[in-house]
């Protein structure tokens, strides 16, 4: 058959070869992920226990601190990000200004996180005088995730069929009524997915909170207000791994595993929501 058509290689053979190569590449990509998680589990197994998550000298302060931090981050970033996305996709008339804003947002997403940390230090900690605290950290992280939230929300808004907007406008709805009653409800799952992914990103970041929010204290680990510093997972991991020589290494590994599990858990939730969304028909 191959000679009839003049192929150098039988297409069935080349197909098998291509498929095999791609399969190997795919395994190479997934191997490190499972490798890392598996290794962390192996090294940290000794310290992993329910007690680790819930005790004061375990990870409870760090987990709750991170929970506070990302909640406040979402509270700050979500209204601004979603609002900006609605403006950009529904109201702004396309032109040089909008292009400039979009360019700025894309570039913001590429700024290294340590730069956000330094900016947060200069702006919130020093200029606003909030000191090193939960609020400063949350605002810094909010800046970091804002571009993510804006682009995810814009994408979700774009997915709402234009026909629905026109149908609503043609019934005498104002633009805002159309957005409120038709566009937003339909974009909401996508927007929430973007929010969760952003929170997952924020939960794992160290550099932005290094100078703005995190501290390490065994005596008074819980914040009383947003103006108190907090213990956060990534920062505690950093401190334990680098500055405390006498800590049981399995504790450090267990901690790393918990942090990765938290981030992964959030990502899985986001993926499930997105899958649900995709199944829905218009």
């Amino acid at each position: 058959m191959s000679s009839e058509r003049g192929h150098l290689i039988d297409p069935r053979v080349s197909e098998k070869f291509a498929f095999g190569t791609l399969w190997v590449l795919m395994i190479l990509v997934t191997l490190p992920v499972f490798g890392i998680i598996g290794y962390m589990l192996y090294r940290g197994a000794e310290s992993l226990s329910w007690n680790l998550l819930t005790s004061m000298d375990g990870l409870l302060p760090a987990i709750s601190g991170t929970a506070y931090l990302v909640s406040l981050t979402a509270l700050v970033a979500a209204p601004i990000g979603v609002g900006a996305a609605i403006y950009l996709s529904e109201y702004a008339t396309p032109g040089p200004l909008v292009r400039l804003i979009r360019l700025a947002i894309i570039n913001l997403a590429g700024v290294p996180s340590v730069v956000y940390g330094l900016f947060g230090l200069a702006a919130f900690v020093i200029m606003f005088g909030w000191k090193r605290c939960l609020l400063s950290g949350a605002c810094t992280l909010a800046l970091l995730v804002l571009p993510l939230i804006i682009s995810a929300s814009e994408e979700a808004l774009r997915q709402v069929p234009q026909g629905l907007r026109e149908g609503s406008l043609a019934l005498g709805a104002s633009k805002w009524q159309t957005i409120r009653r038709v566009v937003l409800p339909n974009a909401l799952p996508g927007i929430i997915t973007g929010l969760i992914l952003s929170i997952a990103r924020a939960a794992g970041e160290t550099a932005p909170i290094l100078f703005t929010a995190a501290f390490y204290s065994l005596s008074d680990p819980f914040p009383n207000s947003v103006f108190d510093p907090i213990i956060a997972m990534p920062y505690q991991l950093y401190v334990t791994a680098t500055e405390q020589p006498h800590v049981d290494p399995s504790f450090t590994w267990a901690m790393a595993f918990v942090l990765v599990a938290m981030v992964l858990g959030l990502n899985i939730i986001a993926t499930v929501i997105r899958a649900r969304l995709r199944r829905r028909r218009w």
Binding site: P94, G167, L171, G172, A173, Q177, W282
Partner: protein
């Protein structure tokens, strides 16, 4: 796809479409089989094509365009169009793709305002008053001039909420008021009997033809004076098309209807007057019978005979 609960709602239409399939023995099931529909009509309660009525006194002019021009940026989409649209008549706009008929339709409820770069010059008068003046209230204009789109576009909510959507934009409705509006509108769109037990079901579970009638019901709920229909049947199968056409003939007793269609048989079946557009120009505008039997312009003649477009 169909949840069990919606199968009830589908029944009447299924019955109908089966009946029609039996009638249509030819393999060709295109929408181009006007005469047989009309025979069906004769026995029904619906008034047939306006052929007999057209010699009687003209109905009042509802909409008038004067030297209407539309530009999309530098593209001249509508060129100096003058036309009159009358109450209790169906006005069909025909012509090849891109000739401007949809653009003209969208001028009448100012949906062109939503398109960046669109610019309208000239006048559109409804009941003698310009709708492009500074005092024009877009909200009330669009309530007076309803539009049905090419793709059925029910909102992803219940049938009930779809119909109540328009009235609820204006004020809070009591239960009874909303119930009343929903029933009246669905009856008006000949959909009530099929969905009355499933009003809380998602509108997306309806068939395409039912969805389109729901969109018509949604328009009727805000009590418009004019109905604009932009190829309302192009996404529908022949039996659903038949039901929409039947409905249009019913509705024209109360509304001025403008329909854009690619289907010349549809235009000749349902409309009283027909306008033929070509490259943004209104080439010919006359009684439908005249346009199809004795067109004055060679280009109209060529189009109607299928020589281009």
């Amino acid at each position: 796809m169909n949840s069990p609960a919606t199968s009830d709602a589908l029944k009447p239409e299924e019955v109908q479409s089966e009946a029609m399939e039996h009638e249509e023995n030819q393999p060709e099931t295109d929408q181009t089989e006007g005469p047989r529909y009309e025979e069906d009509f004769m026995s029904g309660p619906v008034q047939t094509s306006s052929a007999e009525h057209e010699q009687t006194a003209d109905h009042d002019v509802k909409i008038e365009t004067r030297d209407l021009n539309v530009f999309y940026d530098s593209f001249h989409a509508i060129k100096s169009v003058d036309m009159e649209i009358r109450n209790q008549e169906i006005t069909a706009l025909i012509g090849p793709s891109g000739c401007g008929k949809s653009t003209l339709l969208r001028c009448l409820n100012r949906m062109n305002d939503e398109i960046p770069g669109a610019r309208v010059e000239g006048e559109v008068l409804i009941d003698g008053k310009s709708i492009y003046s500074n005092e024009t209230d877009l909200v009330s204009l669009r309530r007076r001039v309803g539009q049905v789109f090419q793709q059925p576009n029910p909102f992803p909510m219940s049938i009930y909420d779809n119909v109540a959507y328009g009235p609820r934009l204006q004020r809070r409705l009591s239960r009874d008021e909303a119930d009343e509006i929903v029933e009246r509108s669905l009856r008006g769109a000949a959909l009530w009997d099929e969905v009355k037990d499933d009003l809380r079901k998602s509108a997306l579970d309806l068939s395409g033809g039912q969805q389109q009638r729901l969109c018509i019901a949604r328009c009727l709920a805000v009590e418009p004076e004019v109905l604009l229909m932009d190829e309302p049947c192009s996404a529908l199968d022949p039996s659903a098309t038949f039901r929409i056409e039947e409905l249009m003939l019913e509705l024209k007793e109360r509304y001025a209807i403008v329909i854009v269609t690619h289907n010349m048989y549809q235009a000749s079946r349902v409309s009283d007057r027909t306008g033929f557009f070509l490259l943004g120009e209104l080439v010919e505008f006359d009684m439908t019978t005249r346009i199809f039997e004795d067109p004055q312009d060679d280009r109209t003649d060529a189009y109607i005979r299928g020589r281009f477009g």
